[in-house]
Homo-oligomer: 139 residues x 3
Amino acid sequence: MNIITDSIDLSTRGNCEIHNITGQAQEIVSSHGMTEGQLILFCPGSTGGLTTVEYEPGLLKDLPEFFEEIIPSNRRYHHDDTWHDGNGHSHVRATLIGPSLVVPFTEGRLTLGTWQQIIFIDFDNKARSRNIVAQVMGE
Amino acid sequence: MNIITDSIDLSTRGNCEIHNITGQAQEIVSSHGMTEGQLILFCPGSTGGLTTVEYEPGLLKDLPEFFEEIIPSNRRYHHDDTWHDGNGHSHVRATLIGPSLVVPFTEGRLTLGTWQQIIFIDFDNKARSRNIVAQVMGE
Amino acid sequence: MNIITDSIDLSTRGNCEIHNITGQAQEIVSSHGMTEGQLILFCPGSTGGLTTVEYEPGLLKDLPEFFEEIIPSNRRYHHDDTWHDGNGHSHVRATLIGPSLVVPFTEGRLTLGTWQQIIFIDFDNKARSRNIVAQVMGE
């Protein structure tokens, strides 16, 4: 059993931008030569989320529309009383989706479905540099 | 430390059908003879979700009603522009709940509460055969 | 590789009370002397959730308001037909947020962002004693 803590660097534009990080995630598993185990992805930061989706143009519109509907960006949030940075909606959305995702791999391949991609959603209201922790545990 | 990648097979009817997979999950932990560690459940596919609930008839109605309210099935989604398969709502719901769940076990038992069951929700709009990845890591 | 299953005890008042358990979580990692690995937090019980947030007074109001809006406490739930305990909303909220959270650590520190804290949200409608499972896996 080995543990290796690696990372995925991203430059995002924020505002619900959705990044397909499947290729980088698989590359991390492959590069460390493990065949059986799990990949733990974690976003250090409270305005980003990790989950999966079929990464196609329609859903890349549906998801931001969904978040805008249930957690609107143009509403006043108490978070603004603290920081006045206008990203209360970003925090609530990120808390809802969660900062971590665990994906098993077997025979060296992440066990994703054919039409399923790992995504990072940057909910912040400005461009960000992100460093997603990618820890491989296995053999 | 050992890693064993097993699976749970399900036949679902889709449309927010909720499956209690607690028995199968515990059986996988028990059958591999480990006493301390974690079970990672993962749905390969972008229209299914894993979480826990008290599996009783009332909540089996409340949950689908909740999803219908915040992500309606009878609305037009951009996803349909790509595939015309009418399951845009299925994808958004699955992305929200997430495809993976990690449950620790100790003394050979999953650390679930007395009234807490592991569920797979099939959000797709048709019957599906599902193969949930169930990876045991521990000793 | 070692696995140690520990726990975090909490007394909560329920009703969407948000507990910052970052200090206890880091203390568990530190006390077992591991430097590289992951911490798995799991709530045994179907009315509590684990996620992260910037733990500041504004968001501590925004989050309960958000849950009240999308899963109101004053609505009738089918769950009441079973138990008559008035906490149907607690269950639906907990299922949405999920009972588990995995956080990697490296050089003995959880890989959290500077403004990111681990929180337990008690969605139940009464005071509770909670015993959060905290399992450390690593070396």
